[in-house]
């Protein structure tokens, strides 16, 4: 049923339909509305889940880790400092191959403290063994939670999935969103049947010490499973389309790239703004396009290569940094083309929208304007030079 919903509310509605047995979270802006709604559903008796209040995100992640290990579906959500505080446990969850789903409302990291959107938090955890999706709008956010659970709980995957939605822009933005019926969700997402669980009748240990004789194989197994996931994601997305009528390939989205000469690569809600600018420039006869990266982990390298190999100029917009080096997303895009014969002549790197600075249509036009034969490295868009005057004695 189509409803006019705040992004956070839409996530709560969709998670309710997934019926996790255990939810645990700690409030943090801009994620709070999601679990606030879920807590309300539980209190109202609309959702038969155990909602466990905790004293920190580290504990929230630990609670869902433990609950998941007992063989039930679980859910948590966080942002920014909360995600970083969870990070120790997040690596454990992936290492223990527990299929939980986490919503990250992307927000900048301190210091200085900033509650607004960028993607530094989740991008910093790209090496944790979690699958990572970055979504563009509220509908996609809702839909990718269903895809996330299906993937995570697939017997060939059994890895956690992080759905990343831009803080405020998507968590607090209100859009028309189609919330499916329970029967539809049940048809797409069967009840979770664990491969292994903590059970006193048949005791096992998880997350054991693995000495040098054993550790490497556990990491190799995750690396290989990521390849399996890469092949499975489009299949699950196709099944999703059959049940719900909205089609994604789950990995990337090519927007007017077929004959394009200049293409921006980006992740998250900024893709909506870029699409508008692309449409406007197309009317003026400019051959421009967008490649949206929906799935950062596993990285769909082959699909990115196919989509971009014939395009002369690429601009990559990063909403995060790897301070002191190349920006995270552009590093991956460049790595995709390293050693390839057919590749873009220019892959320029742009940094925009850190700490919630709006990426406007003008910002995107500026990126296209700067996308010339001269390759740019970490070019900051909308920087205020007057704030860089230093008066510290």
């Amino acid at each position: 049923m189509k409803e006019f919903l705040e992004g956070s509310r839409a996530v709560a509605e969709i998670v309710k339909l997934c019926q996790p047995a255990v939810i645990s979270a700690y409030p943090i802006t801009p994620q709070t509305h999601i679990v606030e709604e879920l807590a309300q559903f539980v209190a109202n008796g609309e959702l038969k889940s155990q909602f466990i209040n905790v004293e920190s995100e580290h504990s929230a992640a630990s609670v869902v880790l433990g609950a998941s290990a007992t063989g039930v579906r679980v859910y948590t959500a966080t942002s920014s400092q909360g995600l970083i505080y969870m990070s120790e446990v997040l690596f454990n969850i992936a290492g223990m191959r527990l299929p939980l789903v986490l919503t990250c409302a992307n927000r900048a990291l301190s210091a200085p403290i900033n509650i607004w959107n960028d993607q530094q938090d989740s991008v910093s955890l790209r090496d944790s063994g979690w699958l990572q999706f970055y979504v563009e709008d509220v509908q996609e956010t809702a839909d990718f939670h269903l895809i996330a659970y299906r993937l995570a709980e697939d017997k060939s995957i059994m890895l956690p999935v992080m759905v990343n939605m831009d803080g405020f822009i998507l968590t607090h933005g209100i859009e028309t969103v189609d919330i499916p019926a329970q029967e539809q969700v049940n048809a797409f997402l069967p009840a979770y049947k664990p491969l292994y669980k903590l059970d006193p009748e048949d005791p096992v240990s998880m997350g054991l010490l693995a000495d040098p004789d054993y550790y490497m194989e556990t990491r190799y197994a995750i690396q290989e499973t990521m390849k399996t996931a890469l092949a499975l994601i489009p299949k699950v997305a196709a099944e999703f389309s059959k049940v719900f009528g909205r089609s994604y390939n789950g990995l990337i989205e090519e927007y007017r790239t077929k004959d394009a000469e200049r293409v921006i690569v980006a992740m998250g809600s900024v893709c909506g703004t870029i699409k508008e600018v692309v449409d406007e420039l197309r009317v003026k006869g400019r051959k421009v396009g967008l490649l949206k990266i929906t799935c950062l982990r596993p990285l769909p390298a082959q699909q990115i290569c196919e989509a971009l190999k014939n395009i002369p100029k690429i601009a990559v917009i990063d909403r995060a940094l790897s301070l002191g080096s190349f920006a995270p997303l552009v590093s991956e895009i460049k790595a995709v083309f390293f050693g390839k014969n057919k590749k873009p002549q220019v892959i320029s790197s742009f940094i925009a929208g850190l700490g919630g600075r709006d990426i406007t249509k003008d910002s995107i036009r500026e990126v296209f304007r700067l996308l010339t034969a001269k390759e740019r490295t970490c070019e900051f868009i909308d920087l205020k030079p007057e704030l860089l005057q230093e008066n510290y004695g």
Partner: protein, 87 residues
């Protein structure tokens, strides 16, 4: 693919951790042993066995070479020898 993910009970026996031993291993001389069993009690791996005098030995599949048994033996009947030394 999962790799060595789940531990069934009693894997402390299944996993041969003696490979951690790097320098030296205990040699049970079995000459002046009085069967006080202190070595058996202090062994952090619980891998020393024996009952009668001069019957005590350890399982090198698990022994880490810590040397506690040799240090505590009141009869100096256990000595630490180089890992690559011949018996």
């Amino acid at each position: 693919m999962f790799g060595p993910l789940i531990g069934k009970p009693a894997t402390t026996r299944k996993n041969k951790t003696g490979s951690w031993r790097i320098e030296s291993r205990p040699k049970f001389l079995q000459k002046n042993c009085i069967a006080c069993k202190i070595c058996l009690l202090v062994c952090p791996e619980g891998c020393i066995t024996g009952n009668e005098k001069n019957t005590f030995t350890c399982d090198y599949n698990y022994c880490k070479g810590c040397g506690n048994c040799a240090a505590i033996c009141p009869k100096q009947d256990i000595e630490m020898i180089k890992e690559d030394a011949k018996e």
